[in-house]
Subunit: 311 residues, 4 copies
């Protein structure tokens, strides 16, 4: 009990859930209840004694501070030719993994929503040809088995960061999970969402900052680059950055990718197209495949300055 | 073509999706692409020629400007006794429908997540006893059939507003859908989410403003009360308000409910408990059942001033 | 000292400024410093033992829960005729005070910025003719003496809420101060800004919620109507609402004004014009003078339901 | 005129102010008025034909893409000894200019507000000793003459970004102006604020991104690092970054400063103290002077990778 001039503070220790369930907030005489412990558990760096999580995805090291993951590929898988062309280009420039959407969550039901299962088939084919591990977004528990067979990293998108059923399904597939921050989720909430995956036994979770929604509309979202070093202080999980979705503008993807490398991210995930003008989805934010080698070299140089090499 | 001093504007008509797919944004010489048409379709008031959607839920009229829906009940179904006690209290004070959560989405995986199917059983029982139609939240497509049998209105929660698979499932159950605004969703996005339900053939969609996430942390969320008259201008669908989740503080629920009635909402959905101090979830925001009759009378008086009677 | 599983909490009492100056935050071993006392002092309801501040402005009672202030007038004083016409119309419909801008803060330097001193002359004239006390915005300390002579209530605008020099000047003029919330200011910051005025000895401060900046762009700002009951719990100062600037759309001003009355505000401040289409500033948000009597009657009815009569 | 399915679009060319003054918005039959031209003028890159503004501050080149300005110093000038110690340390490590506050805007009137005029005297002294040009914040037009004599760059702080009287005064002092982005100002508004200075004839304006207010409270503000490349596309003015105020946490200042260099900023402005634990203001965000040389070397390395050397 800490008496003050106008109010009296009372400190309490123990399980914060228990305190919340006491319903103190809102009782007569109670001004406010302020939680002082962190709301996430398994994702907490205290729990790992500040040892970072490190793991391999088909030979590429993720996490641990010595590597930088360059994940690149088309926004959406549109055809075998388009996917193969982009994959070859990014593989030649040293990309670590291939990204590509088969099932696309779209704000309007009248937008193109991806090729679905045949998109996964194309990814599997291109994976075999290029040797690049594949990252793709799971949007529905019904597709879980198919993803477990096909992809190397299961992505949970920003809109589904609090789709708890999906998080639990993703945590059971035996694959690393790339978890994107919800567009208005706090970092505490991101780590609690990671807890949903971790408690299923899947310890290989990659967090991804992809821009948050703010009052500023000059860019599509506001890339919260400070989230990277903050997360490094508070969690043992690797953290990457998605500058393509954050900005929605390819002219900003280069600068923001360099910033991600310089700030200490474990990697980036970017969209690349042979011919963004005819892409069925998010064309303006996709890098030209012909510019990718120069882009990758620039970003790698900044990553090297902070002691990392491309995975 | 409209030439200006520094830039040249070019007007284009036709399908905005088509324009987006042309990838003009980001081309050399293109400063910005500004969409001028509304992105939602089926939910648009233009489509209904400004006629509001009106429908019945077991004798209670929703929409149309002459009624006010008073939906009340516990946050979470915890036991038959607790649910029955609250339901009787709100029924006696003239509530239109009973709310109650059987499956609860929780930010942390370590929080109480509801009774699940047995919660639905309790709601069915209490529905039979009190005659109140039941509103409950669907969180997973796997429970869809069970909801179709048991509840009168299927709620899709804020966290799932962009869970498009779930929206489509909800639109196929043959039940009215109560769609909550995502905590950082624009009103345009809310109406596009409604489009997902409407395109499945379910025309009975109730929109719900429940507070948005802003920089202000004094209250849990910021109730965007202006959303109600804005939605009335732009959509034919009924609009209700959830002051309990918006504020997270029962001392504000009364004033905000009166504001919702005065601003022209088609109803409110509020949480009520016999004994909020022992509620397993969200205690501080629940009204005391003993205060509910006075609360209902106050809110109804404001609704009557704008020409509505409690449904 | 409260030892926990992963971290140890230490409670401290005394002056929070003192604690802040110790620089604990950022020291090795310190995870976070969480202030538990309210940062404002003079504006705090604890300080007034929960007695509300009540005062008169030329016979109109402000604060105290029994009156409702209807402040109305043109956005900007453009001519004697225009100002007189609006003032007569709102006076006839029972308005409590006249608002009108002589000096206008504008985002772009190329916009119309008001008539300046001759605008104040016009306000003084119309004040004499109609008997309505006058509210006008002070934007520059250089005009302070002129304001002290002319206006009845000195307004400090949202953009200047943290212009501390101006707050101190306003607090010394011997006139009540209407302090608008900054467009992204927290309620704590609003009360700290009020402290700047109060510490100069001016106890008659009216707080004004006028919409905050959020991610939502459907309306100009998001009216934070919940701020009113929250402020009522935390400060003794009267609180009014500005629905004109909040929405920027006259079609929403009626509903939002009713909401303000129903939620328990001590008044509203609205913009009215004879002919908004030719107004030099903010035309779309101004009510038509011919609609004002019906508007005033509607709002008053909601105010009466919560026990208030128009001042 | 562009007829559509549900609405008809009408394109208009000419002065956007003129269009706004027509009051079309809110007229019957008008759904929305969408401005398509940029609202700023003098700051626009179109106006300078995409040539960047470059100028010298006592031999240090600002703007133009080949230099990087390292501005460092204490948050607040507290004593000659403290200021001299920090200034010598940062000068030795190659800083371009010295920052230091004499007049401090503070949220609460009960906080320390700087030494005032004697703070300026100390800065002048230390300037003479170290040869470092001085940047300090002008908070009140009353101090303008004193600033014109003493400082090399006049800072206008975030809280005063829309204090238009102060902007005009700052534009008349014959000194370069460092203009900080308001904590919830859009980039368009920042450029319109710059227009206020530019129209007074002062062409040497430095823009500063210092973090914006968002829903995320893990850090003090959210550094909008994407603002830098966006501004580079839209204005000819130099752009720097303030990672100290953005994060409020010295552990994040290093990573964010590296990100600022990598993203293409023209410089950074950071707070440094000999002994942050006893600083009277903002201790937790100040770098230790003893760590500054390593910090400067790291940041410079990233600046060099994008073709810049420290000014």
């Amino acid at each position: 009990v800490m008496p003050g001039e106008l109010t009296t503070a009372i400190g309490a220790i123990g399980d914060p859930e228990g305190v919340r369930e006491m319903g103190l907030e809102g009782l007569p005489g109670v001004d406010q209840v302020i939680p002082i412990s962190r709301p996430y558990k398994l994702a907490s760096s205290e729990l790992s004694h500040h040892e970072p999580t490190v793991f391999d995805v088909d030979g590429r090291t993720v996490g641990g501070g010595e590597t930088f993951c360059l994940i690149a590929g088309p926004c959406t898988v549109e055809s075998p030719e388009q996917t193969r062309a982009v994959a070859s280009a990014v593989a030649a420039a040293g990309a670590s993994m291939l990204r590509g959407g088969a099932f696309k969550p779209r704000t309007s039901p009248f937008s193109f929503r991806g090729l679905g299962e045949s998109g996964l088939d194309i990814l599997a084919e291109v994976r075999a040809e290029t040797g690049l591990p594949v990252v793709s977004e799971l949007t529905d528990a019904a597709h879980a088995d198919r993803f477990a067979e096909t992809v190397d990293v299961v992505q949970v998108g920003a809109r589904n960061m609090q789709n708890y059923g999906l998080l639990e399904v993703a945590g059971k597939l035996g694959k690393p999970v790339l978890l994107k921050r919800g567009l208005s989720s706090t970092l505490d909430e991101l780590l609690m969402a990671a807890d949903y995956v971790l408690k299923e036994g899947e310890e290989r979770v990659i967090l991804c900052e992809r821009g948050i929604r703010t009052f500023e509309t000059a860019m599509r979202f506001t890339l919260d680059v400070g989230a990277v070093p903050w997360l490094k202080l508070h969690t043992h999980l690797p953290v990457i950055v998605d500058p393509s979705h954050a900005s929605g503008d390819r002219r900003l993807v280069g600068p923001l990718s360099r910033a991600a490398a310089a700030v200490g991210a474990d990697g980036i995930i970017v969209e690349v197209a042979e011919d963004p003008e005819v892409a069925l989805c998010d064309g303006p934010q996709q890098l030209y495949a012909r510019d990718f080698p120069a882009f990758a070299a620039e970003v790698s140089a900044h990553a090297e300055l902070v002691g990392r090499r491309v995975a």
